[in-house]
Structures are given as C-alpha cells and as structure tokens.
C-alpha cells in the first residue's frame, strides 16, 4: 500500500522525467532548427568558404551559441571567435525586432593581415605590439513597436587596449523604417538591386524625420593603449623640457560648449573630466540629460538637424561628462 508520501514522490518523479525528457527533446529540436537557419544563411549569402564553426548549441527559448567560429579573410588569415551567441531574438511578422549578439575570445590577426597585403594601415597598432587584437564584444538592438522606441547597446573590451560601453535610445522610429532596414539586412548581397534598395530606403529615410534622441550614454577606457603608448614612443627625439600632457579640451572648447547652450559649470566640469582622463586614465563618461526626447531634425526636414557638431550635441542634450 502506497503511502501518500510515496504517491507524491512517484508523481514528482514522473513530472521530473517528463519535464527533463521534454527539455532534452525541445533542445534537440531547437538545435536542428537553429542549424538549418544558420547553415541556410551561410549558403544563401555564399559564405560557405568564408564562415565556419565547430559546434552549435541552441535552447528552446531562442538563443543559439556557435563555438570556434572562423571568418576566413584569405587562405592564410582568419578572424576567429571562441564563442558567438545570439540571444533575445524577437520577431514580429517574420521580421527581426530584437537581438543580442555576443562574441567572446575574438581574435583579429593584424600582423598576418598586414604582411599578406603589405599594408601599413595597421602600422600604428603593430608598432604598439598589437599583432593580434583579442577581445569581447556585445551588440544588442531592440525595437518597441508600440512606443516606436529603439534601444541599441554595445559593450566590449580589447585586450590590453581598452573597453567601451554605449547605450543609445532613439524615439520616433517608425516600424516602416525598421521593416525596410530589416528587409535590406536579410537579403543576400547578390540579390540586392541597388535601385530597388535606394527606392526602399528613400521613404524610410523620410520617416527618420521624426526621430528623437531619448538617451545616450558612452563610456570609454583606453588605459591599456595609453600604457603602451608611453612605453613605445613614436618620437625620434626625446621631448624638450618636462613631459607634456596632451590637451584634450582647451579653454576655447569650453567656451564653445557654453556658446552652444551648455551651462558654464557643466562645461567646466566636462573640461576637467577630459583632462583628468587624459592625465590619470580611467573611464570617460558622456551621458545625455534630457527631460524630454530631443528631435534630431527640425522643421520636418532631414536637411535641418538640431545640432551640427559634437559641441552642439553636447549642449542640446545637456550632456554631462564625468570620469
């Protein structure tokens, strides 16, 4: 005779087995679907000889991770990514409305590229010892159809160079513009007709007239780069006199900010923060401080932007610069 406890235990066991099995089955199905999607994308975009990955892992909740991804730039050189994951994928009407892409242990072989192409474009970085750029990067974009709000976020770090964070929220972005961009992005390059794309983009551009800046936050740290910059000089002669500190913002720059509409105290704080960042290192932060979203364009025309310079943007968005 089974006791009540036994019955509960058996029932619980059945539930665990059923849920566990269901999860495994769902995960298997998710892997199959994701693999179809990714391999199909690679084939349709003629990337078979360029993009390769070792393993795919997908979850039933819409995320997928590729391991040991390589993007071959030539027979001898490739950008490699230890782990590339896509998550937070949201769709509407078969169109992407949001995603987060994270690349970890990415490596860009700068020296191999420079040698292969006899290219001096990377000379500055190579001179500082960045023969391979390694790091992580995350990029996400999400669109809210109801509020016409798009949020873009990016963060990343380059080994022994620096890191960044960026958050941008824009309002007044019409679904039509998003659909147009998504359609262009999902079309294989060989199928893109330039005239058609231009025709599709023109109305979408017109819809950007109502776009507003809701929030912008930027944070940059280049301590690693600065350290190497000090170690490997790019001067052929020693500096004359005491070591000079680069001037990030001059008094004139501060004056321009005030002229553009920023409060004098804010302008002074910005100059001090920039100077501190240049001399002591650390992080430089720039954040808007808007009560209301700020239209990017005035008078309903993309020909009349609300600001035409960085100073103008800082003043118009009441941005604060800090460390």
């Amino acid at each position: 005779m089974l006791t009540k406890q036994h019955k509960i235990a058996i029932a619980a066991g059945l539930v665990v087995v059923t849920v566990g099995g269901g999860w495994l089955f769902a995960k298997h199905q998710a892997n199959v679907i994701a693999k179809d999607q990714i391999d199909g994308f690679i084939i349709r975009h003629n990337l078979g000889g360029t993009v390769a990955y070792r393993e795919l892992s997908a979850s039933p909740f819409g995320s997928a991770t590729l391991s040991d991804v390589s993007v071959r730039l030539s027979p001898a050189t490739a950008i490699t990514v230890g782990s590339l994951s896509v998550s937070d994928l949201t769709m509407k009407n078969n169109q992407v409305r949001g995603f987060t892409v994270t690349a970890e242990q990415a490596q860009v072989p700068l020296l191999a590229l420079a040698r292969e192409h006899r290219d001096n474009s990377f000379a500055e970085a190579l001179g500082l010892g960045y023969t391979v750029l390694g790091g992580n990067i995350t990029l996400s974009a999400h669109y809210d159809d109801e509020k016409n709000l798009i949020a873009i976020e990016s963060a990343g770090a380059v080994d022994d160079a620096g890191s960044w964070e960026a958050k941008i929220k824009l309002g007044g972005v019409s679904p039509y513009a998003i659909d147009s961009l998504a359609a262009i992005a999902s079309t294989p390059p060989q199928q893109i007709n330039a005239l058609q794309a231009l025709g599709a983009a023109a109305p979408a551009l017109q819809t950007l007239v109502g776009t507003t800046v809701a929030k912008v936050e930027l944070a940059v740290n280049v301590d690693g780069y600065r350290r190497r910059d000090a170690q490997v000089t790019n001067h052929d002669l020693p500096p004359e006199g005491p070591s000079t500190v680069p001037t990030g913002m001059t008094a004139n720059d501060e004056y321009k900010l005030v002229q553009a509409g920023m409060a004098p105290s804010e302008a002074r704080a910005a100059r001090e923060a920039v100077q501190s960042w240049l001399t002591k290192g650390g992080t430089l932060r720039i954040a808007t401080n808007l009560d209301q979203p700020l239209p990017i364009f005035r008078n309903g025309s993309i020909m009349t932007p609300s600001f035409d310079s960085f100073d103008g943007f800082m003043a118009a968005t009441k941005s604060r610069v800090s460390n």
């Binding site: 990377f122 190579l126 010892g129 022994d160 490997v232 000089t233």
Partner: protein
C-alpha cells in the same frame, strides 16, 4: 750530307743532283697521297708534301719524317738546315709556292714545326711551341676574351676528325677534355625537357614529332595513312624512350649551339683573327613543326658568350692559314663554332605556351673550318672559361670599386663647391634630419629624419626581418650586449666588435638593424649596431651644427675616394 731530292715522276736534273751530292732514287715509303720531296739514307729521313701529284700550292704543307735511328733526331738546327737546302727544288718545281710549314715527326710524334716563305728565301725557322694554357693578360679594367694561341694552322683537311674524337692537333695545344653531348641544338634541349616531363614525352603529338625527326622520310610518306602510321609511331615511341633513357646525365646538363660565323681581318697587334659573338641569348628552333605541346623554340640565356672572341695565331701561321683558304683572291673567312653550354640546375620553366630561357654558362668552344664540323682548328676548354670568368668577376669588383671611388671623388668635388649652400640648407632642417645626416653615410638628405621606435617596430614586424635604422639613444646601463635604453626605452642595444662600449646615461647616435620578435604583446625590440657615434654633449647637440655635418660628409667622401 746526302739528301735525295726525288720527284715522284721524271728525271732528277743534274744540277740538282750536284747540289745535293750523292743522290739516289728509291721507292717511296710514304703514303700514296704524299709527294716525296726528299729522301736521305744518311740522315734517315724523308720530307713529304701533302696532296700527292697536286702537292704544289701557294701554302705548302710538308712533313719531315725521321726514322727511329735518324742522327738528326732531336736536333732542330740540323733539321732546319736540311729544310733550307730544299729551297731550290721547292722554288724550281713549285713556282707558285709562297709559304711552307713543315712538321717534324719523330717516332710518330710531332716534335717541332718550321715555317718559311718565298720572300724570305725559304729560310726555315722554328715556330714557338704553343703553351697549353692561354695567357690571360690582366689589366685593371679589362678582361681579355679567351683566345687560346695557335702557333700554326690546322693540318690539311685529309684527316677528318669528329667532335667526339677531339684529336690532338699536330700543332695546336693539347686539347682539354671536353664533354660534348651527343644530341645538339634543339633536340638536345628538348630531350632534357621531355626527361623532366614524362607526360609530355608520352603525348601522341610528341611521338609524331619524334617520328618526323627520326624517321623523316617514312613519316612523310605515311603521315596521312593511319594504318601505316601507327606502327611507325610505335617505333618512334620506343626510340624516343630508348633515347631518353640511354643519354648520360651529363648530356642533359648541357646544350650545344653551333654558330656559323666568320672571322675578321687579322689583328697584327693582338695576333688574332677576331670573332664577335655579340649576343647573350641563343634560340633554337624546332626542326619539324608538328602541332603539339612542344615549344617551337627553346632558348638559353648565356651571358658569357663574349668570352669567345677570336682565333689566335702568330703572323706566319696566320698567313699560311689565310693562304690555304684563299681562292680566286678571296679569303674564305667562314668558321663554325660548337659551343657546349652548361645549363643552370634550375632548368626550364613553363611560360605560357613555351618555356622561359634557361640560364647557361659556356663550358667549351670548338672551332671548325667547315659547317660539317670535320676539320677542327682548336678548342677552348672548361679551365680557360673558368679562369676567364674568375678574371671577369675580379674585374667587376675592381671596376665597381674604381667607379665608387670616382663617384665619391665627384661627389666630394661637387659638395666642396656647394659647401656654403649646403650648410645654409641643412641649417634650416629639423634637428632630427640634422642628426640623421650626421650619422649616415652618403649624400646630404634634407628629408630623412631619425627613425622612431614605433614606426621601426612596425616596419620590422610587417617585413618579417630586421630593418635598417638610425636612432638617437641614451644608454640605461653600461656594457656592450642587450643594453637597455633610457631613450627611446623598450629597446635594447648590442654593439658589434670594434665599436665603443655604451656607458650609462650617455647619448649615442647609432646605425644598425632593428628586429622585433613576432610574439603577440611583446614590446621588446633589439638593435644591433653597425656604427656608433658617442655624443660629446647631451642629445648630441654638437652633431646638429650644420658646418660639422657638411664637413663630416666631405671627410667621408675624401676617405671613399682614396
């Protein structure tokens, strides 16, 4: 002395008999084609003329053949005296004779050569024995082409030596051992290509070519009759395979070019008949054009053909040589030269439908009087060419040094003339440019500054090898090996032998090679110096003086010009 002067036919004139004392008639032991000019039992010798009954010619070819027990054996003076006594029969019986060369043959070997001319009263004189190695007169700025001396003209055309036999000439220097490939011209080189490319050798078109070349008459007859053609192609295939496998490796390493050319008028000063081979590439054309993958031409690039520059002879021999080749008052100046060319090991490389010209060097040259390569004049062997090449290389070095010296002196003169202007100009340059000019050899450069560490690191990394730099450094410690620098930092300096030690905190202008390890993230760099200038003042302030810079350049040029 009793010498029997005996024409092969007719009666001996009494006067001649008196002149020569006891004379007698005797059957000639000589060859049927020889004319017995004289026969002496006393001296135990015969004097024979080439040509039999037609022995008389403007340039006589004579032989004095001594018996083994001849009392004149080894006595050149008595041999010449005997020959001089023959002036009367020569002048009487052969009025057209203008010169005569006589070879003395003692126990089957040529032991001497005498020559005489009608103008000289038929007084025979010995010709000098040819040296075995041609002298190469070495001047500071000139390498003489190879012209092995020949003291006497080649023997009469009666013997017809072949290239393969390369017989020693009776009067020419001992012939060197010369490797002469069996197959010559286009075919020889084609076999080399086919040996390296069996697939090409197996192609039907190649077999057809070989059939056309080797069995030309049969091929012409059956080339459009497929049932008769097939057996011939099978035979040609076997023959080609057999030919390729049977040739020695040495043949594949060489090509043979036959040049039919002519020699110029005799150069009395240099005692040579000049020949000009004024080209450095030899192109061989296919003897049979068959549509195939075979190249229609095969070329060899031979930069040292100009080593073959003439046929040397002393004047007497040269005169006899030309007279022998004179018909109707015109000298036949044609000669053929078989040149063996050693092919560079890199061989032939495909270039579109054909092959790039392979590099080659002349190994030997054999001169012939005729196109059929039967009558050989003389040879130039590998040793002579090797010596010529060495002399030429030495000449190049000497010429380059002399040119550099002249250039340095010219630059010094120009710089001296413009000293004041240069001082003003360099005075307006940046400090970095001034120091770079002070540290570097060569002319003033108003645009080249010192190298900075970061750019030099990048250049070394991208090129994958050390790069030449000129830098201002401050030593971080003392010593010679892997010395850290206070400036520019992240750089270690190693000074080479003969250069001063580095002292801590001292400044130096250095030239050298900067290298950077490939490993990611490494900031170390190594500089191995080629020249070190210890600065007298901090940051080499004294080396920034424009007059000092210009005068230093002038002094360097003065040194280079000496």
């Amino acid at each position: 002395m009793t010498v029997d002067y005996r024409p092969s036919r007719g009666i001996v004139p009494a006067a001649i008999c008196v002149a020569f004392g006891a004379l007698w008639l005797s059957p000639s032991p000589a060859h049927a084609d020889d004319y017995v000019l004289a026969n002496s039992k006393t001296h135990k010798l015969q004097v024979l003329a080439d040509g039999g009954a037609a022995w008389c010619s403007p340039a006589l070819r004579l032989r004095m053949v001594l018996d083994a027990d001849s009392p004149d054996s080894g006595n050149a003076a008595s041999q010449m005296e005997i020959m001089s006594r023959l002036k009367t029969p020569i002048a009487t019986d052969c009025k057209t004779a203008e010169s005569a060369i006589v070879s003395v043959i003692d126990r089957g070997k040529t032991t001497g050569t005498f020559a005489a001319t009608a103008k000289g009263g038929w007084q025979f004189a010995a010709l000098p024995a040819p040296p075995t190695v041609p002298p190469i007169e070495q001047k500071a700025d000139e390498v003489k082409p190879i012209v092995p001396p020949v003291a006497a003209p080649a023997p009469a055309p009666t013997p017809t030596p072949t290239i393969a036999q390369t017989p020693a000439q009776t009067s020419a220097p001992a012939a060197p051992t010369i490797m002469m490939p069996k197959e010559k011209g286009y075919i020889g080189l084609l076999l080399r290509i086919l040996k390296d490319n069996p697939a090409l050798a197996a192609e039907e078109a190649t077999i057809k070519f070989w059939a056309a070349y080797k069995f030309n008459r049969e091929y012409s007859q059956v080339q459009f009759q497929e049932f008769k053609l097939q057996p011939l192609l099978a035979r040609a295939k076997d023959d080609l395979s057999q030919t390729i496998s049977s040739l020695p490796q040495a043949d594949y390493e060489r090509g043979v070019a036959i040049f039919n050319t002519s020699f110029d008028a005799y150069n009395f000063q240099k005692q040579v008949f000049p020949i000009t081979l004024n080209f450095d590439q030899v192109t061989f054309n296919t003897p049979h054009y068959i549509q195939s993958s075979l190249p229609s031409t095969i070329a060899l690039k031979v930069p040292d053909l100009d080593a073959i520059a003439g046929i040397p002879m002393d004047p007497t021999a040269a005169q006899a040589f030309t007279e022998r080749r004179t018909r109707w008052n015109s000298v036949n100046r044609s000669v053929s030269i078989a040149v063996v060319i050693k092919i560079d090991p890199s061989g032939f490389h495909r270039d579109g439908w054909g092959y790039q010209a392979a590099l080659g060097t002349v190994e030997s040259a054999t001169f012939f009087t005729d196109n059929e390569l039967r009558e050989q004049i003389f040879q130039i062997g590998p040793d002579e060419f090797a010596k010529w090449r060495q002399a030429k290389a030495e000449e190049k070095v000497a010429a380059a040094a002399a040119a550099a010296q002249r250039e340095a002196e010219l630059r010094r003169q120009q710089m001296l003339a413009m000293r004041e202007q240069y001082i003003r100009q360099i005075g307006t340059a940046s400090t970095s440019v001034k120091l770079a000019n002070f540290a570097n050899d060569g002319p003033l450069n108003f645009y080249a500054p010192l190298n900075n560490l970061r750019a030099a690191r990048a250049a070394a990394l991208i090129s994958g090898k050390p790069v030449a730099v000129t830098m201002l450094v401050q030593a971080g410690s003392s010593g010679r090996s892997t010395i850290d620098t206070s400036f520019p930092g992240s750089l270690q300096v190693t000074v080479m032998d003969g250069q001063p030690d580095l002292k801590s905190s001292e400044w130096y202008l250095v030239r050298g090679l900067l290298s950077v390890p490939d490993s990611a993230g490494t900031l170390a760099a190594q500089l191995t110096t080629q020249a070190v200038y210890p600065c007298q003042q901090p940051k080499c302030a004294e080396a920034q003086d424009p007059a000092v810079i210009v005068d230093r350049k002038l002094a360097a040029l003065q040194g280079g010009a000496q």
